[in-house]
Symmetry: C2
Subunit: 337 residues, 2 copies
């Protein structure tokens, strides 16, 4: 009775029929009589039969598992992508194994190995900051396992990728500053290793050059967390020509920046405007004044990634190198005019 989980064998035994008949009945195979099907279904319910996905996986060489590797799930953005991945995967009968690289290259490699060993049917990756060698990703593909990059993508490996309009988002932010009379726009930029940082930087730079504003190196500083955002903003405020606008690579950095501005007595947005990136609902709600930001469709990006991944499961290499770009939006709140 409660001897672990019931199997098709148990159903077969109870009904005195063969396991193959049970298997087929459960799958609604046309060959099986309605009568048998009904009996099987009832017995299955009686025994609370749940198909053993492990056995199914072994048999059909499909685990119905997909792997997701993200840097850190604590970040709002990544947790929303997980929701998107999970929802779509579940809707297609897949489950998700989540791994965090903690921004560590070594850990990312371990994660890949673990997922491969678990025979996941596909892997979605958002690359860690530390990663500069990409052979572990190529390795996935060599095994014939579909791979999709999400947000933190990787140009060195040809794989379907899902990003948002990083460039356009940054462009919008900078344009907004310009159209409100700002000329001395600083950028708190992300690490060199990340493409998204470069894209955001480029969007910013292109707006400057479009408006014939010379790029000023002191205005472009590395900062991607609260503390560095705070610290680097203090330094910006020490410049002879202080900026009149700050575009930050993400919201928490923008929050650090706001803290510095507030402490130094600058009025936001009157003296200095600020725009973040990510539109984190907690951060944008809590800063004073409320942070304007570029909305990133995390849930949709996750969903789309899962969709592209599942589309490629079972197909032959080479995998397409399609890049899907999802829309970002400028959300104006109180740190902008």
């Amino acid at each position: 009775m409660s001897k672990g989980q019931a199997t098709i064998k148990d159903i077969a035994k109870a009904l005195r029929i063969s396991v193959s008949t049970v298997s087929r009945a459960l799958h609604d195979h046309p060959d099986i009589s309605e009568k048998t099907k009904k009996a099987v279904r009832e017995e299955a319910r009686r025994l609370d039969y749940q198909p053993n996905l492990i056995a199914q996986g072994l048999r059909q060489q499909k685990s119905h598992l997909i792997g997701l590797i993200v840097p850190e799930i604590v970040h709002h953005f990544f947790s929303t992508t997980l929701s998107g991945v999970e929802d779509f995967a579940n809707s297609q009968g897949y489950h998700v194994m989540v791994c965090q690289s903690n921004e560590s290259y070594e850990r990312e490699k371990t994660n890949v190995k673990a997922l491969l060993s678990s025979r996941v049917d596909g892997i979605i990756v958002s690359v860690s900051k530390e990663t500069t060698d990409f052979s572990h990703f190529k390795h996935i593909q060599k095994r014939g396992i579909p791979l999709v990059f999400m947000d933190r993508i990787c140009n060195e490996v040809k794989a379907p990728s899902v990003v948002c309009q990083d460039y356009e988002g940054a462009y919008m932010a900078a344009e907004h500053f310009i159209s409100h009379g700002r000329r001395r726009i600083a950028h708190l930029r992300g690490p060199k290793s990340l493409l998204i940082s470069k894209q955001r930087l480029n969007g910013y730079l292109d707006v400057l050059s479009k408006h014939r504003i010379p790029k000023k190196d002191e205005y472009i500083v590395f900062a991607s967390d609260f503390e560095s955002g705070y610290r680097e903003t203090l330094r910006l405020l020490d410049l002879h020509e202080k900026p009149d606008a700050i575009f930050a690579v993400n919201d928490i950095t923008a929050a650090g920046s706001l803290r510095a501005l507030q402490e130094k007595g600058f009025r936001v947005p009157e003296d200095i405007s600020v725009i973040g990136f990510g539109d984190d609902p907690v951060i944008t709600k809590l800063t004073v004044p409320k942070l304007s930001s570029i909305y990133q469709p995390g849930y949709e990006m996750g969903k789309m990634s899962a969709q592209m991944l599942l589309k490629n499961i079972g197909v032959q290499e080479p995998f397409p190198h399609e890049i899907r770009v999802l829309k970002t939006e400028l959300k104006l709140r109180e740190t902008t005019l």
Copy 2:
């Protein structure tokens, strides 16, 4: 070569030995000669052999997977518990399947079914707000699968549980108010369905009665997100006897409360002190003034849960009904005297 993943069969074939020898060599079985072992290991490396966990799972009736069901991973607390679970599980050769119930009872049931079908070796659950019927949890145990409750526990089902000092945390908060001369302490409480809400409420109530302060029903209102925290605080401020301190069931609610206080021109902490619960690093950093809060050891709770779960894998029922309580701490910042 790149024909999917290598198996022990491939190694056996290459070395012209039997699969059983390979299997044993890989497991460092004492019967196998050092010479053979070395050859096998080398060939395994050459072929980049990774054991097929699915096959292993089927064979040994152990999937080396554990399931984690949390309400919503976007909350900082739950994402830190995931890290704890993941780290400990990985260290023991287990992987984690994460499911979000989205605070929905139906979805929680679906999650349980899915995990059972995946033949996870154990399940960690943080119960959804909506859940009042617990048969799906009992069901897990009936199947002989160990179950551990974490944070959002469930007294109706006897299972090992990991919580933090909800009562004591609330007690500390209220005591702190009292010891700084506050007498009109309000509580923004969580939903009735959650034990942690009750515990936090009780800690608060016991401090009142200890100090012979009569409980005042208008001071105890339901609120567990930013908007309700904001709204209910406005109502508290309309009372004839306004509170001089507010203890909130979580940090985001406290943040909503602070927003209301600020809008109405109350000084925090001089006029009204505020303490939250959870010690969310983003929220406590961003509110103005910075929010005092009760620190909850999320990572350790996750780790402990995984530890208790793995301890029970393979053991016979009945599972112990041990409850582990982890320490909370009062973190004083700027919303308290």
